[in-house]
Amino acid sequence: MSKFPKMNYPLYIRSIPTENELKFHYTVHTSLDVVDEKISAMGKALVDQRELYLGLLYPTEDYKVYGYVTNSKVKFVMVVDSSNTALRDNEIRSMFRKLHNSYTDIMCNPFYNPGDRINSRAFDNMVNSMMMQVC
């Protein structure tokens, strides 16, 4: 999973144990296009919490990509294995919610400048635990 701010550079990238990180990075970047497309499609839609969840962006090959956008246009992208069929939609939603919450916690920290890479240990722990749950 990874998150990008407005200018679409990654603030944070973390992969589950599989090693082909580069492939994930590539996937995530390409999925950004889809995310942007969806955002523009939303247009004047009410920015409801639910609509921030973009759902399955597109299923390719052997994995699925999920997107989530916050009010401040920070995008969360999650790539999961298709073989992991146990992941239900609401679980993905809950994971995105957790990410969002952790992200806002980080924002509360006055020492954190928005736009910096995220170095928070708490955030890392949370993300790791979440991924462990899934895998």
């Binding site: 919490q49 609401n90 919450n101 916690d105 020492f111 928070s120 708490a122």
Partner: protein, 613 residues
Amino acid sequence: MEQGPAGGSAAAAAAGTGGLLLPLSESEQQRYSELFSRCCPPPEAAAGGSSVGELFRASQLPADTLHQITEVCGAKRVGYFGPTQFYIALKLIAAAQSGFPVRIESIKNELPLPQFVALKNDSEVRYGTPAELHGVKFQVPHTSLEKNSYKRTDEGDKQEPKSPPMSPICSPPASPSTYQRVPLSYGYGKSRSGLEQQHGAPYEVRHTTHQPDGPSSGNYGAKPALACSTLNRSLSGEREQQDSNAHYSDDPWRITEEQRDYYINQFRSLQPDLNSFISGSVAKNFFTKSKLPIPELSHIWELSDVDCDGALTLPEFCAAFHLVVARKNGYQLPETLPETLVPEYLQAASLKPMRDCALFDSYSESLPGGQQTRDFSRTEKTAAEEVPDSSALLQDGKKDDKQALKVSTDLKTIPKEFQHLTVKTAAQESNTLKARPRSRSYSSTSIEDAMKKGEEPPTPPPRPQKSHSRASSLDLNKIFQQNAQAVRSGWLPPPPPALPPRPSLSQEVVIAQPPSKPARRKLRTETQGLETPELSPTISVTSSLPAVKPHLPVQKQSSKQKRAIQTAIRKNKEANAVLARLNSELQQQLKEVHKERIALETQLEQLRPVTVL
């Protein structure tokens, strides 16, 4: 006057004695500073006259010699025994014991350490064993600080030392400048941090073994002696620094009274209202002065701002400051907020004000340690605050705000909250109020477009159990009625997996789980958190855990695992239920299809003879 030799640590004792620079060897320094700290009850910067007198008498020198020494060292002139005077006096005592005349010149020589008799009792009596570790060890950084300030004031005004030791530093000048003084000494320490780490362990051992020995150790004096010297200390100073390091090793995360007073003073300088809080930017500026790297400050903030609102209350500020101090003394920052920092400052929080809802949007935090601290803070907060409904309502309003902003909670932490709720015996209503909305917000959002899952039929809540005095009875009844309705409604999916509280708790908790489930369902239907406080007290009652905080850490860890298992079990059960229902529906459809097929076939049969012919 001459500077100390480079090999040793030069103690430049200036000003007090009219510019006399004493060359003190390392061992002398240690001894002297340790003696000084012993004579100096913790908060004072100057040795008490009586204790100094005792010490001098213990040197077994004749009285007039002692008088002479006092005069020569300048104490009479300045009126009190500051560190410089004290050191000179000790040196003179050593000289006198070696047979030299009591004169300034005699102390320029290399002298053995002054001998004092019956001093061990002194120290033991004064400090006591448990406090000794603490008091003495804390004394050291304080005396160092005070000496630091003393050193500076030597140049200018002579500050009257008073307790706590930090106050001479902080009180007269503006706080930023005082704080800068503190970090100067601390920053000094930090520059040694690399070396400190290595030597921390052996020195720790030495400390613990030496402490009972009292005066013989002489390690304690290191840091004050260090601070006494000029700040441009050579590497030889590192050893003293390490000693101070070891002081913290016993319990680095405990805030002593002096420290707390100091932190409170600093807080006051930033924010006159002790019950209010420091905003993030102000705190940022303040802590940036400590010259710690930003990532570390960021981490410290994460640890200490337990409710994640971007502002520090007094206890949070104390914790943060303490972490800064520890870090500057070379201690690595912990991953989670240490327990001693948590309850201490939470207990110290007399009254946390009702935070303005506007001031923060507090999301549920997923900090592991921070989570429990937040719960504690909440429980403490509400315990400290009045439990009248007004406050509860206010809390409610605040929590609703939280809710409105918040999306989900870290499920695993919710049971933890419940743990805490069970522990707290004080008014938990507001607590649970806070706890519940979190779970509720999660459940409400997740369930609304969740697939229709069969819920596992919960066992009927043990209503009699819930009827406990803790919660107001009226609300309870309302809840139960709603619960019953919710149970009947049936379609509501089961509560989020992690919500069933604390499987690690006693078996009563298992019974409590179904109550929590209908409670949650009711929450969803209600969308009001007002009832939740009543629920959690009941849950806490059913669990009926003793309110023992030490149990918590152990419970949490085992509960985490169990919670994970519970989560998995629950998920599987849900999946099973869904599949079972699906199966039954499909079976039904299959039967119908069969019937149709049979009907069609009979029709066909009936029609066929017509065509066949």
